[in-house]
């Protein structure tokens, strides 16, 4: 890995101004050299001492990176960078280095008997952070997977990529799911910025975050347009927002005289106070597409030929608003409606909320796209008509419509159905009644006559269409028989009860764990054949070692259990052992083939 040099300021606390200098990071340590050679703030720290790193959000005030020494003590090294891109380079570097160190230390902590092999690090391909996050998420969600990962990857049996190669589909699922889950706007009215006063002076403070700014842009198109027009040609971004806040303050204090005076003086400020003409246009567009059964605009003056001042003017229900004021009064109700509309539209941006300018431009782009899609008016009209006709029907006077539905997605079917079954059983136990046991018992004569009939039938027709091979059936039956007879003797009555439940918890967990581990190992083992590269050969070797390890473990378990369970356990372990035996046998034969071949090829393996 390369070495990074970056200009930065070193600080011991966030507040202090910091010492300017150069931060130099290499694979195992970082060095800070202050610009001022007299300064005592020289650093030379090994990454081994760094436990973690924190950083400020993109778009916040300072581009900070904090390398924490110890999570308990909280001490650390804080660096401030000139801009976020510099910081992000350093952040990513630190992340990688720390990740490597942590992997090594954790593998040591686990004290696996497998010798530490460089394979784990050598093969650590450059992963994107998103890929990394996805993997972490999967591990986090699935504890079983996490266990396997810990055992084999950190244990060094499998490499990271090998482990994930067989789980591509899982990862892809996560990938596919992510774009659907775009976060919309928050319900809270952020754009309604409330000023805070310090109480001593007449100063009021407005604080704007990127999220608030984004919401302001979405809810107030006039401000958005003004921003695109004015910044940075006419004024700086800071000036722009100062003006905006000033206008907001005037609006909030309901000082219409002062607002009018300011607006007359300052035409940019007036933009914020004036009636939003973009919104008005939008409303005019939208009103055409509104459901006709709630279009109240159509009533307005539907009294055939309309005369003003008709009807009862001043009965208290109508308020005569003075619309003469040119700076139209923006009411809270309008703000609320506008906010809810924007939230409902959920116009999410694909850019990160960092730079205000890019956010503003992205919003403009998405609006443009929206305009383009609005052309398919005919279709929406049709849909609307269908909806109206559906709405008019009284639903319980007729047969129900079959509405389209989304299929139920169960993340882990096994877990779901098992828990359902358990619940059902529990419910049965609670109510006491349950399903009545069906009487399957036949009299001996009946059974006999039935069998006799069957036999005679077979005699006549012959065994011409076999479902299974008789030999195979017999083998399976023989295999199962002792098992059946013994389990029947012990548990028999309740089919829901499982042999596993009888065992002590520790043994059960171990058995289940080994079962999954064996499956994982075997999958890798069989997929490695035919061995074509040295790498695969190494892998098989590793796998074989791990398998022998588990094999011994299983034997141990078998011997360790109490005598009354021993038979059960050995029955359970049997198939695992058989599977492993088969793998070993295959390995041995392959090995023999290899050795006979290797006589011809002295330099080793097939490349």
């Amino acid at each position: 890995m390369a070495v990074i040099n970056m200009a930065a300021k070193y600080k011991t606390t966030v507040k202090e101004p910091g010492t300017p200098g150069v931060l130099r990071m290499s694979e195992d340590k970082f060095i800070f050299v202050p610009n001022d050679p007299r300064s005592a703030m020289k650093l030379n720290v090994n990454f081994r001492n760094i436990k973690g790193h924190k950083f400020s959000k993109d778009g916040s005030k300072q581009a900070l990176l904090n390398l924490t020494q110890d999570s308990e003590k909280g001490g650390g090294y804080i660096f401030e960078f000139d801009n976020f891109s510099d910081r992000n380079v350093c952040r990513d570097f630190v992340g990688k280095v720390l990740g490597k160190f942590q992997a090594v230390t954790s593998s040591r902590q686990n004290e696996q008997p497998v010798p530490e092999k460089p394979a784990a690090t050598v093969h650590s391909e450059q992963l994107s952070t998103t890929e990394m996050e996805r993997r972490m998420k999967l591990l986090w969600e699935d504890s079983e997977l996490q266990k396997l990962h810990k055992q084999f990857v950190i244990g060094g049996v499998l490499t990271e990529s090998e482990f994930w190669a067989t789980r591509k589909s899982l990862l892809d699922d996560v990938v596919q799911r992510t774009p659907k889950q775009r976060a919309g706007f928050r319900s809270a009215m952020l754009a309604d910025v409330r000023p805070s006063t310090d109480g001593r002076t007449n100063k009021v403070t407005f604080s704007l975050t990127p999220e608030i700014i984004h919401q302001i842009f979405a809810e107030k198109p006039a401000v958005h347009r003004a921003f695109l027009n004015f910044v940075p040609i006419k004024m700086t971004e800071k000036d722009f927002w100062t003006k905006y806040c000033r206008a907001e303050y005037l609006h909030r204090t309901k000082n219409s005289v002062a607002a009018a005076a300011e607006a007359a003086e300052d035409e940019e400020l007036a933009v914020f106070l004036k009636h939003d003409d973009i919104l008005a246009n939008e409303a005019r567009c939208k009103i055409r597409r509104v459901d006709p059964t709630l279009d109240m605009e159509a009533d307005l003056g539907d009294d055939y030929i309309h005369l003003p001042d008709h009807g009862i003017l001043r009965d208290g229900s109508k308020e005569t608003a003075d619309a003469e004021n040119e700076l139209a009064r923006r009411t809270l109700s309008q703000d609320l409606n506008r906010h809810a509309t924007v939230v409902l539209e959920g116009r999410a941006l694909d850019v990160e909320l960092g730079d205000t300018r890019t956010a503003a431009e992205a919003l403009a782009r998405s609006k443009q796209a929206e305009l383009c899609t609005e052309t398919s008016d005919e279709k929406t009209n049709q849909e609307r008509l269908e909806k109206v006709s559906r709405m008019t029907e009284i639903e319980d006077l007729q047969a129900p419509h079959s509405l389209p539905y989304a299929p139920l997605c169960i993340k882990d079917p096994r877990e779901y159905f098992d828990s359902q079954q358990a619940n059902a059983v529990k419910a049965l136990g609670d109510t006491g009644a349950g399903i009545k046991p069906v009487d399957f018992s036949l009299k001996t004569e009946e059974a006999y006559t039935y069998l006799l009939e069957q036999i005679s039938e077979v005699k006549v027709r012959g065994l011409n269409n076999l479902v299974v091979q008789p030999e195979a059936t017999l083998k399976v039956l023989n295999g199962l028989n002792p098992y059946l007879s013994s389990t029947k003797y012990h548990l028999g009555k309740k089919p829901q009860e499982c042999v596993l439940d009888m065992l002590p918890n520790r043994t059960k967990d171990e058995l289940l764990h080994h079962w999954t581990s064996i499956q994982e190992l075997l999958r890798h083992f069989w997929s490695s054949y035919p061995i074509t590269t040295a790498y695969l050969y190494n892998k098989v070797l590793r796998l074989k070692d791990a398998m022998t390890h588990i094999y011994h473990k299983l034997q141990e378990i078998k011997e360790a259990v109490q005598s009354d369970f021993r038979h059960q356990v050995s029955l359970l372990v049997q198939p695992m052992l058989q599977a492993l035996d088969a793998a070993f046998a295959h390995y041995d034969t392959e090995q023999q083939k290899q050795s006979t071949k290797s006589g011809n090829k002295p330099n080793g393996f097939v490349q």
Binding site: S187, A188, M189, A283, R284, K286, I287, V290, D291, P292, T293, L294, D295, M296, E297, A298, D299, L300, G301, D302, D303, Y304, I305, H306, L307, P308, D309, H310, G311, I312, L313, R314, D315, G316, S317, K318, E319, T320, A321, T331, L332, S333, Q334, L336, N337, A340, T341, V343, L344, L385, V388, S389, T392, E393, I394, E395, D396, L397, Q398, A399
Partner: protein, 758 residues
């Protein structure tokens, strides 16, 4: 399904029918048989509209001669759309030989397809933009000039060409035409949908339009003139019909109106001078025509049609126009004197209330205009403007208003009063003088409807007390009945909340409403409910100003922010466009499962005709009792009139009016028996018997005694229980003795044994 009611085969568009729908149809049929008027109250959510449409259509099919026409009046255009949608559903279930024509009619603004006309912003300018292209003299000028020199409307021209070969050429095929369908058809064929619809109402079997088209004499004179006696007129959602009648005959004159009228008069004087110089014969012709009377006005071109006389036209048509206003200059000077007189009256410092008789006497003595001249003002103006070929009618609205006022004042001596207020009661520092001619007698406007048509059906979800309406509207129904609702399960849950979570009373009584404790308690109530109730919640407040105030206070207190954690908030404003969009968004928020709250006003536009059924409204909260603004002079005058004429006590009327509004607001949650919803009346005054008993029976019967005096936490508990209960599966058809859903079989069985029906 298809079944018999006595001798009529009824086609019903569903497989099942509610028993109350069946009963409703039986009563309706009896009223039609008796050729009389009727008054029917049926709870919302029992399919009133479809029952009505289905019976009347079937009845018309069973008795083909004389052809029975249905005039279905709705309050609003969106209700018109809903009705037409139901009608369309019914139509698809009629036998194919029995197809009929049904259409909706609205103003030019909603029907026009001419892009040039549509580009004008307000509805008045749409009207005059249309007139500028289609007036008879404009078309005549266009015919003389080379094509393109005078712009005309291509849609109207091609329609006119098609119609000139006989009415059959433009006859629409049978079917149901909504406003959208008419527009689409107009675009496709190149015909003007507005004039097509106007022409088609003569041939249609069902016409759906707004109340005004029958109740406002100015409009009814043109649109509904040709309707024959064999019409069934239905006023749906008619709980406010008395107010509509009163509004149709009320006019107010403000200072802006008078200024505008002065400008109009000035311009007309210029026009007259111009005509005198160029075409004096025209004015002379008009004079001669006026001598003979106004009766010949009928043969005007379709497009020149004007508003008719605002009073009942029959009395006036037979008389000749008084001699002293026949000449155009004389008439203008009369109008000038009238405007001047009104200006003088507006300069008063005090509130004045006068009867029309006194007012007319005072006009006569001070301005020299007698009653007969006043009465003819409107028609005379109409005639003059036609003569002067004025097309930009939207410029002349002010003088029309003045003449309208004059004609009304000159015609009616009873049931009106004139109120002059120098400023609005609530804003005494802003001078805004208004002269209001307010009608108190709802029966005046509706009288011609009752007289002309054989059956008038007044129906709504809330007509309680049902004996009050015949008195207010002055008619004798042959049948007046209030139906209850048979429910399969208790799917409505009305509650009266009297106390907040701190056990202090809540109310919108004037002295309590701005108390921060009450505001907070109302806010807490909403907050608790928003967290517990799924999908849509609707809140009704007593007035716009109260809603604005309380929403602002909630915003300051942070309650609104907490509410927004759970649901999006939408608010009705006085801007109709914004409210419509807010409603549309509210529905979408409910559809997508996000859930929303809608704040609305009890007497506002939303409360009037928007349904909050199913997931669009699982809970309605009525904050306070929506009393009218009792200090209003108009209301005081009206109450006095009601007391003197009908012996109705002021308090009773106010309570009746408030409770019908409240019931109307909460009644919007239920659409069918499968639907469910809660209603919270949040005011301590609802627990009093005199208030509560005015609610319609179907709400009262579900209002348990235990739910009469709740605090917020108890209401929350009840709400949770209710929602849990509603989530359980149930038997739709109803169990036990009483069925709540009838199939065709059940109906046939009932038909055989009519004595045992209910």
């Amino acid at each position: 399904m298809k079944f018999q009611i006595e001798d009529v085969t009824v086609y019903f568009p569903y497989d099942y029918i509610y028993p109350e729908q069946y009963e409703y149809m039986v009563e309706l049929k009896r009223a039609l048989d008796a050729r009389g008027h009727c008054l029917l109250e049926m709870p919302t959510g029992t399919g009133k509209t479809v029952a009505l449409l289905s019976l009347i259509t079937s009845y018309a099919l069973a008795r083909p001669s004389p052809p029975l026409k249905l005039l279905y009046c709705t309050r609003t255009v969106h209700e018109m759309e809903k009705t037409l949608a139901e009608l369309r559903l019914l139509h698809s279930h009629l036998p194919p030989t029995h197809r009929s024509l049904a259409l909706g009619l609205s103003s030019r603004k909603n029907l026009c397809v001419n892009p040039y006309v549509l580009s004008s912003a307000s509805r008045d300018s749409v009207d005059s933009a249309c007139r500028r292209l289609t007036a008879s003299w404009v078309r005549a000028a266009a015919a003389e000039q080379p094509p393109g020199a005078v712009p005309t409307c291509s849609f109207f021209e091609s329609y006119d060409r098609a119609a000139s070969s006989g009415p059959d050429a433009v006859l629409l095929p049978p079917g149901v035409y909504t406003l959208g369908d008419l527009r689409a058809l107009g675009r496709e064929k190149g015909w003007c949908p507005y004039f097509l619809a106007r022409q088609m109402i003569r041939y249609a079997n069902v016409v759906v339009y707004s109340y005004q088209y029958l109740l406002d004499p100015k409009v009814a004179g043109i649109i509904s003139r040709e309707m024959q006696r064999e019409c069934v007129v239905v006023f749906d959602e008619a709980h406010n019909i008395d107010n509509v009648c009163i509004e149709a005959l009320s006019v107010s004159v403000r200072r802006q109106t008078l200024d505008g009228a002065t400008r109009n008069l000035h311009r007309m004087a210029q026009e007259i001078d111009r005509f005198k110089a160029t075409d004096a014969s025209r004015l002379r012709a008009e004079y001669n025509r006026l001598v003979e009377g106004l009766a010949q006005r009928g043969n005007l071109a379709l497009t020149d049609a004007w508003l008719s006389n605002p009073a009942l036209p029959d009395d006036i048509l037979k008389e000749a126009v008084p001699g002293n206003i026949r000449r155009a200059e004389h008439f203008l000077s009369v109008l000038r004197r009238l405007v001047q007189y009104l200006k003088g009256r507006l300069q008063t410092e005090n509130v004045e209330t006068e009867r029309p008789v006194d007012f007319v006497a005072s006009v006569s003595s001070q301005a020299g205009i007698d009653q007969k001249m006043l009465r003819f003002c409107y028609d005379r103006l109409h005639s003059l403007m036609l003569t002067l070929e004025i097309t930009d009618t939207d410029e002349f609205l002010h003088i029309q208003t003045i003449c309208d006022f004059a004609t009304l004042v000159g015609t009616y001596m009873q049931g009106f009063s004139i109120i002059i207020e120098p400023f609005d009661e609530r804003m005494p520092h802003i001078p805004d003088p208004v002269l209001q001619l307010s009608c108190h007698d709802a029966s005046l406007a509706i009288k011609p409807v009752f007289d002309r048509f054989q059956s008038v059906i007044i129906t709504s979800g809330t007509l309680s007390p049902i004996d009050l309406y015949p008195r207010l509207l002055n008619f004798n129904p042959v049948i007046s009945r209030s139906f209850t609702m048979s429910l399969t399960r208790d799917c409505i849950c009305p509650m009266v909340l009297t106390r907040g979570s701190d056990q202090l009373p809540v109310s919108t009584k004037f002295d309590m409403r701005s108390d921060p404790g009450v505001v907070r308690n109302y806010g807490r109530l909403l907050l608790e409910m928003v967290a517990a109730v799924p999908d849509g919640i609707v809140c009704f407040f007593v007035s716009y100003s109260y809603m604005d105030g309380i929403v602002n206070s909630w915003n300051e207190m942070g309650i609104l922010q907490d509410v927004m954690q759970h649901k999006l908030v939408f608010i009705e404003t006085q801007d109709v466009v914004e409210t419509t969009l807010a409603l549309d968004n509210y529905r979408r928020a409910c559809d997508c499962g996000r859930g929303a709250v809608f704040f609305s006003v009890a007497r506002g536009k939303v409360a009037e005709g928007i349904d909050f059924d199913r997931h669009y409204g699982r809970l309605v909260i009525m904050f306070g009792v929506p009393f009218q603004y009792t200090l209003s002079r108009i209301l005081i005058a009206r109450l006095e009139y009601l007391r003197n004429t009908f012996q109705i006590k002021e308090g009773d009327f106010l309570t009746f009016d408030a409770l019908r509004q409240a019931a109307q607001c909460v009644g919007r949650v239920i659409r069918s028996k499968a639907d469910y919803g809660m209603m919270i009346f949040a005011d301590k005054r609802y627990s009093r018997h005199d208030k509560r008993s005015k609610l319609p029976g179907w709400i009262l019967s579900h209002l348990h005694d235990a739910h009469l005096n709740l605090s917020t936490d108890m209401a929350l508990h009840i709400a949770r229980e209710f929602l849990r209960r509603m989530a359980q599966p149930y038997d739709k058809a109803g169990t036990g003795g009483r069925k709540t859903l009838l199939s065709q079989e059940d109906l046939e069985k009932m038909g055989e044994d009519p004595m045992n029906m209910f």
